[in-house]
Symmetry: C2
Subunit: 330 residues, 2 copies
């Protein structure tokens, strides 16, 4: 019989709700994983949100800090989004000996040193695979490459919304405004699309990749960021006429005087695999000095892939404990 | 200061020699990994082989079983190839409390249950990332996906030699015989190319993937195997005329009555990313029920990528211990 691990889920929106439902219905982990999960409690604004997520409102805790302190909570899944109070809750949980798993790219990219310090204090696992590239096993791959390679460059399409818009402009010949409206209709873009289309989301994710790659905290404000709102139908058509495409490329590479960090609409030639990334897919290339380029491609967002990545991290935290936590070089 | 871990390397050929040299010269791991390695001893036929690998012949042990028993050996890297005595040495080491890392697809695919039983007895780490897909972080990705997904299918190009031959026939219009001769000249194919061109190598690797995916031991003889020696220049030209390509595709998928396991030359359409896999690259698609398809691409062979994968596994074994070992479902 596998061990049963108590989990608290903070935030029962699209992602957190999916995670909590899978735990509550016993479909969170595979039998071969050796780990079974039990939902101890959830945090949200009120019982309506919890009921809307298809969960028993009795699971609702009134106070997040009290919830994570409950002795039966061994792992905390943070799916609230935003920098605070998410980061404070994660730090408190980690320091108190609870493993933490999150998909929150803003809190991780801005508060990584405090989070890792709390994990060190509590000897706990902190994992954030779902914060970059959704379901793509990107951070486990980067960890594996980093152990024996100097990573020279990480480059990719890490925002599905903007890729969908650019691809829609390219394949259907629509304007930016029409493609954005369609992305909003499909639920890929928010009513206020700024975080996606102006590259903030991609810069958070790039800052996380850059921090793990370099071993120092890279703040998202260090990223030279250009969004896609200025990309015209003519530029897209011109790229297509040349056999290539325009994609929002996020890149961190080493230079003589440190890291170069950019998020910008970029022409990619027809031979470049990035030009084949369609719809709202993500793709990332990791270049190690010994290994050369490794390329990963998959669903970068959506409740099922993102919840999968979170639950895989939960299993890894249960199996491996604090050894799974990434380190920054002191 | 990182811990220094004693390593024995069994076999100092192309791959083992690279691993041993990197350990001996202090270039095996990255500073951020927190792990430093020391080369305790190596095994090979005689001092000439060891000297040829650029290593101090004084490192040579006369007996493999005696070498792995030395108390200063904490991790054993097996790079001898072949089923025996490699499998026996690995089992002995694991049962005695030494972690084992290997690139040996034949021994792993045929002896996986014995190897995992020994790892259980010794509470040790067994890792074999380099046995499939060379430097591509494929098994760590599969492990991550498997924790929270039922994996429906794994499909890929997992033999670089045959991909090089097929791609050469396609891009240069050469015959199979000429492309094979060129692959031999470049060192991609052996003097006796049977293991590659008849699909044995791919069937070993597929059996490992299938075992990890299904949780039961899949023997390579269960694979329905067709090599590429019967592929004609005309078939390649015809595939190209249709906008696609022929690739040696290895696939395991679930069916009502168990697993379907095939290695065979297969037509892939121009929209299929597998048709874009050139030269001796490898690529693999993992399809999870929640996650959808994840696609990985990179260098599937060669001393640098393969040694990287081995050394990353060595670091992971040192950091994580027995929690890193895959499990078959009892």
């Amino acid at each position: 019989m596998p061990d049963t691990i108590g989990v608290a889920v903070l935030g029962t929106g699209v992602i957190g709700g999916e995670v909590a439902r899978r735990i509550a219905t016993g479909t969170a982990t595979e039998p071969g994983s050796g780990v079974a999960l039990e939902l101890v409690g959830v945090l949200d604004r009120g019982p309506e949100q919890v009921a809307q997520a298809g969960l028993d409102p009795a699971l609702l805790a009134s106070d997040g800090f009290a919830l994570i302190e409950r002795p039966e909570v061994q792992i905390v899944v943070e799916a609230m989004g935003g920098e605070q109070p998410a980061a404070d809750l994660m730090c408190r949980a980690l320091a108190q000996g609870k493993h933490v798993v999150t998909a929150n790219k803003e809190a991780v990219s801005k508060q990584l040193p405090a989070i890792l310090a709390a994990a060190r204090d509590g000897d706990t696992a902190f994992l954030c695979e779902a914060s970059v590239g959704g379901g793509i096993p990107l951070l486990v791959s980067l960890r594996q490459v980093l152990a024996s390679n100097r990573v020279e460059r990480v480059r990719g399409i890490i925002n599905g919304t903007t890729n969908y818009i650019l691809w829609q402009m390219e394949s259907a010949g629509t304007s930016y405004a029409d493609a954005l409206a369609q992305a909003q209709q499909l639920g890929y873009a928010e009513a206020d699309p700024t975080a996606d289309v102006e590259g903030f989301d991609a810069s958070y994710k790039l800052a996380i990749l850059a921090s793990l790659m370099s071993g120092r905290h890279v703040h998202p404000e260090e990223v030279d960021r250009t969004g896609i709102s200025g990309v015209s139908a003519e530029q897209i058509a011109e790229a297509r006429a040349q056999g290539g495409a325009i994609r929002l490329i996020a890149e961190v590479r080493r230079a003589d005087n440190g890291l170069v960090l950019t998020v910008a609409p970029t022409f990619v030639g027809g031979d470049d695999l990035f030009s084949k990334v369609i719809a709202n897919y993500n793709a990332v290339e990791i270049v190690g000095d010994k290994l050369g380029p490794v390329w990963l491609h998959g669903q970068g967002a959506g409740p099922n892939p993102t919840a999968s990545a979170i639950l895989s991290d939960v299993v890894e935290a249960a199996r491996t404990g604090s050894a799974a936590t990434p380190k920054l070089v002191p």
